[in-house]
Each structure stands twice: as structure tokens, then as C-alpha cells.
């Protein structure tokens, strides 16, 4: 089975409603956990940006904003072919800088910060074919629970959640292969549909990824490409009267490069960097992720 840490990507979760969202792919992958086995990861995701992609796809400046998520990700095989997933940002921090006058040195707009839990994903993945299949396929249902804070701060522009309930249905397909006797790799693709509540537009998500393992399959290099398209069928600033933060219709094509290393047994560390190749209404800066993981299958 392909190493399951490929599934432990930081899910953007609440960031999806943040105007300056940081693209990051949650590529579930078609590989399910065997019964009683699991994969667990503790990671730190962050992005600090002073530019964003506008609705015209161009970049404009904004007050420097930071988003930090400390996340527990877990996969566990309930029974063979059925895997439960959890993505829980138990500490989410969002801050904006002070705006200071160059002329007077006066703080014109004080910076603010919010620390809270973030929106959390609960999912179930079902393997459509038998474990060990050469071309595994899986169907996942992921529920994004809006338990974060969707609006805080003087301007309501700090948030650790979007206040809406995601329902993502996703199909995954993949294939693993050997590269010589001590190396292996995989390729996978997914397509999903995300239904969203509270006036948010639905999304179609597609992506591909590939990984190669070296050093006796202890060191993995992974490249991911993802594309999220908004159906733009939700509300806009024109159709809502709320003054709370509300950024909708975000789109992007993103890449993520990751390296992960099994230090001893199933324990390992990983590091990833990602960014957007094109986007609308999301952050224009690289995002980073570092983590430690435990893979019961290794």
C-alpha cells in the first residue's frame, strides 16, 4: 500500500472563505487503511501574505495577514475498505498587522489577532475495489463542520472558520508502482463536488499527484496539482446585507511540493511548500507545512 501520509495534507478548511485564501490540497487518495491500522499527523501550516489575487486574477496589495493552523490529521481503518478521517485544526491563529503612517509614525489601524479552534473535517472513505488492487478507487464523503470562529476583530475580518457546512463528495483513483528494487512510486487523481451552505458557491475540485520514494522507501518526494472551480452560484456582496466578512467564488490552480522522511519505524517528519499558479480571491504567497507523523503501516 502506498504510504498513507500522502493523505495528510493540510486541508484549507475555514480558509476557503478567507479572501486571501492559501491554496493547499487535501488529496485523499484512493488507498484505504486496513482494519485497525492508521496514520496520524501533527502539523503546522502557515501563510503570511501582503498581496492577494483579485477577482480579475491579478495581484493587489493588502495589509499583511498571517494564518497559522496547528492541525491533527488522522486516518483509521474501521474495517477493511472503510476508513475514517479527521482533520482538526485545534489551534488556529489569524492576525493582521498594524497599519502605520509613514508620515507621522502613528498607528492608524491597530493590528488584531484571533486564536481559536478551526473548522474541522470529518470524513469517511470507502474503497470501491478490494484492498491490494493495482488500480484502487475510492469514494469519500467529507463533512466540514463550522466550529471555528467566522468573524472576529473590530472589522470582523479575523476568522478561524467560515460559518458554513461543507459536504464534499470525492472520487479518487490511483496506481502504485515499483522503481527498481528499492524505490517505488504512485500516481493518483481525484475529482470532487463540494456543496456549501449559507450562500457559498458550490465547487468542483480536481487534482493529480505523484510521489516517488527513495532510500529504501524511507524518503518520499511528492508533487501535487489541484484546480478548484467555483460554480459562482452563491451570494455576493450585492445580494447580502450582512457586513460580516464574506468572500465567495474563490478559484485557483495550485501546486504543492512535499518531502517526507521515515526516521524510525513508522515515525517521520514532513515538509511542504505550495502556491497558486493562477487564482481569484485568494492569497498570493507561498504556504508552508511542517509536521511529524506516525504511520502504522510502515
Amino acid at each position: 500500500m502506498v504510504k498513507s501520509w500522502i493523505d495528510a495534507q493540510p486541508k484549507a478548511g475555514w480558509l476557503l472563505v478567507c479572501l486571501f485564501w492559501a491554496p493547499a490540497l487535501f488529496a485523499g487518495g484512493p488507498w484505504t487503511q486496513p482494519k485497525g491500522k492508521g496514520y496520524f499527523k501533527l502539523s503546522e501550516y502557515w501563510i503570511v501574505y501582503d498581496e492577494h489575487f483579485t477577482d480579475a486574477g491579478l495581484t493587489d496589495p493588502n495589509v499583511t495577514t498571517g494564518i497559522f493552523n496547528t492541525t491533527l490529521y488522522a486516518e483509521y481503518g474501521i474495517v477493511d475498505r472503510w476508513t475514517a478521517t479527521l482533520n482538526f485544526p485545534f489551534l488556529s491563529r489569524n492576525y493582521v498587522n498594524n497599519v502605520v503612517s509613514a508620515s507621522t509614525g502613528e498607528v492608524l489601524i491597530p493590528g488584531e489577532a484571533l486564536n481559536s479552534i478551526g473548522d474541522t473535517d470529518l470524513g469517511i472513505k470507502y474503497g470501491l475495489n478490494k484492498p491490494g488492487s493495482r488500480t484502487p478507487m475510492a469514494l469519500s464523503l467529507v463533512l466540514g463542520l463550522p466550529i471555528g470562529n467566522p468573524s472576529a476583530g473590530t472589522q470582523g475580518n479575523l476568522q478561524t472558520g467560515d460559518g458554513e457546512f461543507n459536504q464534499l463528495l470525492q472520487f479518487d483513483i490511483g496506481r502504485s508502482f515499483n522503481v527498481g528494487k528499492k524505490s517505488s512510486g504512485y500516481a493518483a487523481a481525484f475529482a470532487g463536488f463540494n456543496h456549501r451552505t449559507n450562500g457559498f458557491s458550490e465547487e468542483i475540485r480536481v487534482g493529480v499527484e505523484s510521489g516517488v520514494a527513495v532510500l529504501d522507501r524511507d524518503l518520499w518526494f511528492i508533487l501535487r496539482l489541484a484546480n478548484w472551480e467555483s460554480l459562482k452560484n452563491g451570494q455576493t456582496a450585492e445580494t447580502i446585507t450582512s457586513t460580516s466578512i464574506f468572500a465567495n467564488n474563490q478559484e485557483f490552480t495550485s501546486f504543492t511540493v512535499e518531502a517526507a522522511y521515515y526516521i524510525k519505524g513508522g515515525f517521520g517528519v514532513s515538509a511542504a511548500v505550495g502556491g497558486a499558479l493562477r487564482a481569484e480571491i485568494v492569497a498570493a504567497a507561498p504556504s508552508f507545512n511542517v509536521g511529524v507523523f506516525y504511520d502504522m503501516n510502515h
Binding site: 479572501l19 486571501f20 503546522e44 502557515w46 503570511v48 501582503d50 483579485t54 477577482d55 480579475a56 491579478l58 495581484t59 493587489d60 496589495p61 493588502n62 495589509v63 499583511t64 498571517g66 497559522f68 491563529r93 492576525y95 493582521v96 498587522n97 498594524n98 497599519v99 502605520v100 503612517s101 509613514a102 508620515s103 507621522t104 498607528v107 492608524l108 489601524i109 493590528g111 488584531e112 489577532a113 472589522q155 470582523g156 475580518n157 455576493t236 456582496a237 450585492e238 445580494t239 446585507t241 457586513t243 460580516s244 466578512i245 464574506f246 468572500a247 465567495n248 467564488n249 526516521i263 517528519v269 481569484e280 480571491i281 511542517v290
Partner: protein, 225 residues
């Protein structure tokens, strides 16, 4: 490895602290006559007022002294009380002493049979200063009683992507701080009107569109005479 983890954690925590974004908010200081006239009726008097706006566009008190290019046509006291004495034309000059030095402004004033005030409205063109759509013409009308009306023309259009887009009157188009907040934008195309209480026609130099939640300037329009 543990040192690497420690350094990484320290770097992440440091990056998570609120820092400073320095914004270039300087504008040219200005001394503005707030109740100008086109002409002053023969034998009539008018108290002129001027307001000093500092290098960030904020009003500041300043001692202002007035003078006339031809006191035989229009006399004026140092405090700005002008009287039309004979037909003709003059240039009135106001000089303000500020902490940064002196600044002056001038007004061409004719003397006629009646006193004529400028038109009761000013105009301008809204333009985007971002890559968000924002365009259209506007007129700023004095509707009396210390109230203004900002009339946005039919050719107006604005992006609906930004939450919390607000419109302001300001003397510093770079920042919303210190500006007069008119209200949240709820019209994104076509003609519409805002009523503004407690403001004079000459009190502000720009219309400003600003996304308040994200501290992003979207566009502005200079208010022209």
C-alpha cells in the same frame, strides 16, 4: 534534529506576531477656501473662511491672514471680511502659518451688481486604483442645511467580490482613517445617491472606495470644481 525543530518552531512563532505595515500616506498640504465666491456684489460684504489641511490631509488650526491685490476694488480685513467697493476684479490671497511653514492660496474675485456663488455642486470621475472593477461619474451637490448629496451616475459599476466595500469623503485618498464614512456600498451598478449630513461642499477633495475588512483601497475620484 531537535535543534532544527526548535529553530523551526521559533521561526513560526515569531512570524505569527503582529507587525507593522508602513503606509505612504503623505499628501501635499493645502490651504482651502471653504466658501468661495465667483463675484461679490457692489457694496456687499462676505466673510471668507479658509481651512488648512496638513501633510496627511487632516484639518489643523492655523492662523490665516487675508489680503487683496487691489484694496480700492475689494478691501479685506486680515480676518477675511471682504467688501466690494467698486467694479473690477481682484485676487484675494490667504496665507496661513503652520508648524511646517507658511502656505497660501488665492481666489480671483470679480465685483458685479450681485453676489454670485459658485455652482452648488462639484463633479468627478470614480476610477479604480486596484484590479477590482470600479468606474463611473459622480456629482457632489450641496442640498442646503449643511447636507450634501453624492449622486453616482448611471455609468457606475463596481466589483461585487469584495465584502465590506465602503465609500468615504476624504482629503487623503491613501487611507480611510480620518475620512468621513458615508456608508457601506450596496449598489454595484447604475445610478444611486448618498445623503451626507454635516459636511460642506468644499470640505473634502476626494471620494474614496475602501474595503474596510481587508484594509484595501479599491479606488477614488477627485472632486473637481
Amino acid at each position: 534534529m531537535k535543534y532544527l525543530l526548535f529553530l523551526s518552531l521559533t521561526a513560526v512563532l515569531a512570524a505569527g506576531c503582529i507587525g507593522d505595515d508602513v503606509i505612504q500616506d503623505a499628501v501635499d498640504p493645502e490651504l482651502r477656501i471653504t466658501n468661495p465666491l465667483d463675484s461679490l456684489g457692489l457694496g456687499s460684504s462676505h466673510q471668507f473662511d479658509a481651512q488648512y489641511f496638513n501633510g496627511v490631509g487632516q484639518p489643523e488650526p492655523a492662523v490665516t491672514t487675508w489680503s487683496s491685490s487691489d484694496p480700492a476694488v475689494v478691501s479685506i480685513t486680515e480676518e477675511g471680511l471682504a467688501t466690494a467697493l467698486q467694479e473690477g476684479g481682484v485676487t484675494l490671497t490667504a496665507v496661513a502659518v503652520t508648524p511646517e511653514g507658511s502656505i497660501n492660496t488665492a481666489l480671483a474675485l470679480g465685483v458685479g451688481t450681485t453676489t454670485v456663488a459658485p455652482t452648488s455642486f462639484r463633479t468627478g470621475v470614480i476610477r479604480t486604483t486596484s484590479s477590482y472593477l470600479l468606474e463611473g461619474d459622480f456629482e457632489l451637490h450641496d442640498i442646503g442645511g449643511g447636507n450634501l448629496e453624492l449622486r453616482i451616475a448611471d455609468d457606475y459599476a463596481a466589483s461585487t467580490s469584495l465584502p465590506g466595500l465602503y465609500v468615504y469623503l476624504t482629503n487623503n485618498p491613501g487611507i480611510s482613517v480620518g475620512a468621513l464614512e458615508i456608508g457601506r456600498v450596496t449598489d454595484f451598478s447604475g445610478a444611486h445617491t448618498y445623503t451626507i449630513a454635516g459636511a460642506g461642499l468644499q470640505d473634502y477633495a476626494f471620494v474614496l472606495y475602501y474595503c474596510k475588512p481587508f484594509n484595501v483601497k479599491v479606488g477614488d475620484g477627485e472632486i473637481m470644481d
